[in-house]
Symmetry: C2
Subunit: 429 residues, 2 copies
């Protein structure tokens, strides 16, 4: 099945200038980019009317089911928020509520141009089913915590769930679904558990998702506890021997940054969540300067409260200039890459994140005619500073259109609303 996207404008870096082109998608892949109209026999033709076709977004850090807790417990000190609100609320999670909340998260992400998300949480089988049903892509991981230093890892139910998840779902949906492993964080895991999971990941060629140096307290407590930083802690236990995505990295030291660069750890930058939770400002420029591959994440809806990489791009693009008093800090193209190509790389999706022949057809069509995008002297500036998620006219995932002109092709929106009302209205009963 072929799709020909005609009357397409590409970003300048693709070398077609302002010229209108045709992008032909065959199956999951971009087959050709041509100035002339290709053969359209047996092809669906979509007229893009001169709008901007860009690589789609990859959400490098999220907890989809936490849309359940959007707006629940705002503006509280971190420990109070976690202990009095989020942990008791999470204790009520069921397969059903996690499934509905995940589907809501996926609907929000698809409409905002996110084609794939990394997720570490509980009830991941529920999230996996929502992923397969909706056609989005995801790297899912059952999040592991451990508190007993003498833990027998062969008996740990969370690790067992994590492996069962991989058994059942890894590679499902023609490779759309990948199962990773996940250690929640240093402060929630004992060394024995970390090295065990690192070894499992190495043996089974799985990727790892972790939280790292999110708060100043986490960093300081770890140094007190182990005489080393969280980054050094995970490194020493072999975690960084496998491809790892470390979320947050707000309080990493210069030595930590060198370590992350050396080990090719992917960093998920979550600027909105880091600000809202009072965690601080990640040293983005320092990480980029050392060659770390940084991607963007939304974190969960409880701490954001949107799943929208336009917001993260805009925040990342202005925040670091502001706090470092340098309006020329970090080129716009580089910020855009965090949300696109770098996100794909952080998920081990090396054939994704660019509009090039042979790459996966993960594509967004962006409305250039919104009043708030006029005039447009520079498409990257438009994408970073004026566009928003409502400018997404079409989201294509692996060659399949999942959202177009305000409607989903794989999600029954009214049914989703009904299911949400059902779940949300009784959740805290």
């Amino acid at each position: 099945m072929k799709t020909v996207l005609k009357n397409v404008t590409l970003l300048r870096e693709y070398g077609f200038g302002d010229q209108s082109v045709c992008v032909t998608v065959d199956g999951h892949t971009i087959e050709s980019i041509t100035r002339e109209m290709p053969d359209t026999t047996h092809a669906e033709v979509v007229d893009c009317k001169g709008n901007l076709l860009i690589p789609a977004f990859y959400n490098a850090h999220s907890h989809a089911a936490m849309t359940l807790f959007r707006g629940y417990g705002e503006d509280l000190p971190l420990q109070k928020w976690l202990n009095d609100r989020i942990l008791p609320a999470e204790d009520r999670l069921t397969y059903r509520s996690a499934y509905v909340a995940s589907k809501l998260a996926i609907a929000e992400m698809l409409r905002a141009g996110i084609v794939s998300f990394s997720d570490m949480y509980m009830f991941m089988d529920a999230t996996a089913e929502a992923v397969l049903e909706t056609g989005i892509k995801a790297n899912l991981a059952r999040c592991v915590v451990s508190f007993d230093p003498d833990i027998d890892m062969t008996q740990d139910y969370r690790t067992r769930e994590a492996l069962e998840l991989a058994e059942k779902y890894h590679g499902a949906g023609e490779g759309r679904l990948k199962i990773d492993l996940s250690l929640h964080a240093e402060y929630t895991n004992v060394p024995r558990c970390c090295s065990y999971l690192a070894e499992l990941a190495r043996d089974r060629q799985m990727r790892m998702q972790i939280h790292l140096s999110e708060t100043q307290k986490e960093q300081a407590d770890c140094i007190r506890r182990h005489g080393k930083t969280p980054a050094q802690f995970f490194y020493d236990l072999g975690v960084f021997d496998v491809p790892t995505t470390a979320a947050h990295c707000v309080w990493v030291t210069d030595e930590d940054v060198d370590l992350l660069a050396k080990c090719k750890v992917f960093v998920a930058h979550n600027p909105v969540s880091n600000l809202k939770l009072g965690s601080g400002v990640m040293p983005l420029q320092k990480l980029l300067a050392k060659g770390v591959t940084v991607a963007l994440g939304t974190d969960g809806a409880a701490s954001n409260n949107r799943l929208d990489l336009f917001r993260e791009m805009q925040t990342a693009a202005i925040l670091h200039k502001g706090v470092q008093n340098d309006p020329a800090l970090i080129a716009g193209e580089e910020i855009f890459r965090l949300a696109t190509r770098n996100g794909a790389l952080s998920q081990g999706r090396d054939d994704c994140g660019e509009v090039r022949v042979g790459m996966r057809a993960d594509l967004l069509l962006i409305d250039r005619n919104s009043l708030h995008n006029m005039p447009c002297y520079d498409e990257i500036a438009m994408l970073l500073y004026s566009a928003d998620s409502h400018d997404v006219l079409m989201t294509m995932v692996d060659g399949r259109i999942l959202y177009q002109n305000g409607a989903y092709t794989s999600i029954d929106e009214e049914r989703l609303r009904f299911e949400c009302r059902e779940v949300f209205s009784h959740y805290f009963d």
Copy 2:
């Protein structure tokens, strides 16, 4: 002419809980808020379907005509941006281009729920005509700069323009349009000019709009030049004797804050612009703690690039928590007040900015059913952290609906697009 808004949900602070109410608007004013349906003879009835009716937004600092330069000259050092891009571009401004750009700005603002904006710039007669034509409200000021210390102010053409503007437009549109005076900034004005304009404002009971302590350089240069801070400079010249809105205030000292509080100077906080231009982070909490009335502004589209107070609210709500590492910093209700009631006060519109009987009917209807706003445990959290400008279902200005369900009642959108293309496509020829 009466309008009855039925099936309305109000914010909790108005004391109706979750109950649905009717809001009756008579002429420009909120006549009643009732649980029962009022007499609807000769009234237009709008079914709000349980959505949220909130006070509208007041943009306390902007340069509407600068939508012309949206995305023009991004990510440059401040002086290079100003000298190589913005100043030469402004030199090409005409009445026609300023008029069209102002109308584009107004369309963007109305759709985002902004019912009134403060503006200091050039070609303000063009902006005034756009204001009167579209039905929005504004405080407009011809921006004055002066560089000759011996200037004869009676001969200054900018001041003459400022006064002519007041003569022609102050109070026009049944009071919707107010004309203020404006000194661009300390670094662009000589003392003689400042004291002259302060006296004019005092004599004619006009308000004043200024830029204040936007950058560290401005603050340091002023101290070097005058041996005092910009706030002290303006104070000493009598500027703060008149109701003044000072935009930015990023680099104010503790003494400056005390002075602003003592003189009841209104502060326009422009967090997005301050970050994007690398200016820094205004000490919001310090200003609020000292009792300064802070409002929110977008600044111009060249440094933002949106005219959207949802963005400013969200940025203000998370930024200060983030940089001060305190998630409990500044209550959500207080941030919301910056964009609503405080904005109205900064414009001398004391009967605006709250949904109460006797107040001006400046009202927004907000969609509670967007997927990204579900679930909603707390309306203020929804407005600050998850809602966006596309959730505005209706914008009412002084009792008149100017935007509803995606359409303008006073702006011909296709004609505006045509005029924009015409102006933008030849602007830099």
